[in-house]
Symmetry: D2
Subunit: 353 residues, 4 copies
């Protein structure tokens, strides 16, 4: 792939020209990150609600705002697209962008249908465009430090992983109804993190879950889940997810290994401790993913732009996007059947997809 | 039950007179605790290796040392016995002591056979003696503070529990061969802690496990296990056990609830942090259960002596001793059959016992 | 003051147009912050080394680069200047900018001569321009949280302050020779912080100091100092400064009050802890002021731009710039004369200035 | 010195026989510690309030209780005395005990009159008895770890010390009136700790202080003090004392050195953290010296008994008792004269003693 350059200037003048598809909250996060990145330029933004696209264009000084995402992929000035539109449009846009030769950064998920995921990944592969999935946690300093400790041998061979991933409060029911459920909507991030830090594929999952909220129960979803994992390298792990932690967004992780262990704590808005007559207190952690992963969102975009500009592999591949969905299917099946499910049952089975 | 008193002195002079059965390491821990307890007096110590009984007697100023535990329960000056002999003798001694009208403090386990446990508990019940099991962790300030937070409503309704319980290093193979395996030898303490802090019975368990040690694998045991739990009150939980954490004895626990969460950290020999040119360092946690639970061992003995002296219920009952064994059977079955096992399958089933 | 606006657009289109004087490290930090601030526009940059000005202009897309700072204050398109030139030029540029009606953001110090400081402040006052001094720590989330705790009554009446302020390593001797010495170069930041968090003026100082470096001793400077403070409100305090902390930049602060206390810790690149067979380790804190106060530098510039745009008072005044210099003189005198020095001796005395 | 032994048994049967002088709170702390020490036996207890002596004797099984401390030093069965009587009796009892050939453990202070201290120390030296002063903090695991770090070279050459020493609340005025004032009553412990961890003598002190309590001000005392120190080895330090910290007993210390730093935190009753919807909370530290230094009190008594039993030097000498009093005089003089005071002015001067 050759990326477009403004002129025949030397490579230091290379700027990756991007189109944003979806001008909502996450689209704007990426616009901000790209506005700070001297190697990138956002040349067009699309949103089905064209007013949103126009507002975004004005806010970030983007020259063009359109309604139809196809106008983005048709635009010859566009090197790549940032897909931030609703999940059920990802598959179609990926196919279109890939066929148009545009590099692709896509928010998770690719899709929740494994056949459509495979189709999207195959199309990307044939077209030769870069593809990066939006697992921004991989760019977080804490998770990266854990990966470095594990991969660098600081804790020896990993034995056991524990991930805790709690949201401050459940999203609205309307959102939950179309979210795919906790395993797909929430735990796919944690499945990715498990693979990322342990550096080995998950072969078996076993799920236990409960719901503390009657409305969420009524729509067939759960609020609180524990999924045990077995990895190809012999390690085991467990992911704990919960839709509600009143003290804020709780994102922690520990790995125990043959020569030691590593854990990470949450990030806080300040380091102050207040000592009172009854208790010692500190402020709550950064409250949600937009604050907690602010730098990670910026860094994942830098990474994508660099991969395009330098023609190097992206940091989060299409397969990295597919496997967590497979694992979410396996966890669902495990919960339904009260048994350990081998991931291969999903990959090659037929019942669920 | 009326306890023996030295004379017809007022109750403040009441001293509980005890016999120690088993003069090994844990027997001596209890002798030390009792030597510091003005309400208790150890009047006799028994050990099959009579030299050990004699050495213990001399060290702690105990007037009588014998070989046969039956000499302890026959002794009319003895109000109660502290059973610290090998696990496979517990059943017989409990039966003997109960029939002799002696109060019983028994190190875990009662037995690993559920029929024999039931027989022991029935005999205790018929005799009316006090019975306390040696789950010393219940007396630890950290675990008690968690229980207080959960039971006192500080975190609302509990949603999810996580227990981490890692030993510094595996015990010798010879020990492991007769230990009953990780679920029985190690995780019964954690099953008890799960019930203690959540305050609800466990109804289902699901186990995932691995082994990092070929010799341990060869004897059919595991080194690293994850057991997911469902509680009667709707909460879920997960226990992580490992035979090896090179940085020391790691005993932590967290509970997430509807109004908050509580966690505990390990105990350390000092609070010093050393800041160097490459890292910030602190010393390792207290290394093993004798150090970590030193105060808890003393306090469980105070609790037992008080229960006897004041004719009040003991803090850890016979049923508290039985249920973790049932759970260990359920975890074993879950691991064998790769499925969630309802605890009722063990309690009323026939296959395992 | 009326600030220039691009056109007769509504106030939301107001953009503060700024000139940078001094294109070195800190000048570029401000350029970056301003490039991210939609309310500001850098229209010119000056540096005696004109190549540096040109490089800066290219890097941040600034339309004009010049050698002479006078070209900045003469420029009618400029609303305000950001003074980042060497300390000994600050006085002259402040006078020039104020007389030209340009708002002023000035890096510390205004000057180290009290008469010249007074002259600069008087000229600023007469001209009516905004003036903000570059005490960026006031914008740091940790220090702000302490101030909030103290001023908001969370700890009652403050009794005692402790500030620790250690650099990773001494600067080069060449720098130290013209730095004014530790009290002026380093501790003025801490004097400001003491006033900021306690919210009361310092009336007496007493200094104790030592030097661990022969070369620094040889030029008449110190490496390690303790300065005790008395505040007008009756509180006492102590500042500890050191030129060398091998583990990195150490910036901590504690206030003890009648109803509690508050302290802050350093900021770290990640929250990971690694547990090894010998020690428990974490990475070193953010190493120096550019990393530690990255966000504070951005926020102080937002604050200045807002003060200009909205015609509101600046967050750090000229007097806030003068008083720490007075305190540095008092500390110097205290050290020379081995006695407590009342700050009034400096403000109204004649010997030192 | 030869210590008495019960019989001509081998040395392992040697028991140090002690008399307690003063049966108040601290006397009972020592009785408890000695009751747990198999190498020691308390054979007599004296208290001017003979009922207190009798109650103590009954509680700890001490065979003899008397009113007059002279009956203790006359008793041929007594190898040494533990002086826990009011401070103004220490001098006389030390002289009497030393002349009677009894080893001496003495609570602080020896006296607050330097001539009487010198007389006491000279008498002890002539008699050849062991003498240990009750600076129990030297036996605390945290302070010992700091000393080990400094003396063992973990932080290189020490540059700067900071001690924070805050009581939960001021003692009653009646106590304060006869206490000698904050420098003598409270800070002598910290002066000792400064010497203990830095391992060098203090040569200069400079004091700053205030009072937040009118009644304490009215009796000429202070509540809050900062004393800067210079050490013989070139290091500097600062001690902060306050009579009131509503969150409890606060005892912390930091040393910065050429190769690193070391600090210690307080001790807490448990390690639990509770995460709520508004704050993250933990319980207050151990509240006062009896809880905080429980183990240190036991260990200092073990150390004294061992020194007597093995005829080895004591861990805290008479000179260790004198120097903090000299430093308290120097701090008082510094506060009165608003200047740095060289310690030699007190040691060899005439005005203060």
């Amino acid at each position: 792939m050759v990326i477009a350059t403004d002129t025949e200037m030397p490579t230091t003048r290379q700027v990756v020209r991007l189109g944003i598809i979806g001008a909502g909250r996450i689209g704007q996060v990426h616009c901000l990150a790209l506005s700070r990145n001297p190697k990138a330029e956002v040349v067009i933004v699309a949103d089905f609600f064209v007013k949103a696209a126009e507002a975004c264009a004005q806010k970030f000084g983007i020259p063009s705002a359109v309604q139809d995402w196809k106008d983005v992929i048709r635009n010859p000035a566009v090197d790549g697209v940032i897909i931030c539109s609703p999940s059920d449009t990802h598959h179609e846009i990926i196919l279109g962008a890939a066929k148009a030769g545009k590099h692709i950064f896509c928010e998770k998920p690719i899709d929740y249908n494994l056949k459509r995921i495979d189709e999207a990944l195959a199309t990307v592969a044939q077209s030769g465009v870069k593809f990066q999935l939006g697992f921004q946690r991989r760019f977080d300093a804490n998770f990266q430090r854990v990966r470095q400790a594990v991969q660098g041998g600081e804790i020896g061979e990993p034995f056991m992983l524990n991930i805790k991933s709690f949201d401050p409060a459940p999203p609205p029911l309307a959102y939950l109804k179309q979210s795919g459920g906790l395993f797909f909507d929430m735990m796919t991030h944690d499945f990715d993190m498990a693979r990322f830090v342990v550096g080995s594929e998950i072969t078996e999952v076993t799920a236990t879950a409960t719901s503390f909220d009657k409305e969420i129960t009524a729509i067939g979803d759960i609020t609180t889940a524990i999924v045990s994992l077995k990895f190809e390298n012999g390690a085991v792990g467990v992911i704990q997810c919960c839709r509600k932690a009143v003290y804020g967004y709780d994102q922690r992780l520990e790995v125990l290994g043959s020569e030691g262990a590593v854990d990470i704590n949450n990030n806080y808005p300040n380091t102050a401790t207040v000592y009172g007559a009854d208790k010692i207190k500190r402020d709550l952690p950064l409250n949600f993913f937009m604050d907690r992963y602010k730098q990670a969102y910026e860094d994942e975009m830098i990474s994508f732009v660099d991969a395009v500009a330098n023609d190097t592999p992206t940091a989060v591949t299409g397969m990295d996007g597919k496997i967590p969905v497979v694992l979410a299917f396996a966890a669902t099946k495990s919960l339904q059947e009260n048994r350990t499910v081998k991931v291969n049952e999903i990959l090659y089975g037929k019942s669920v997809m």
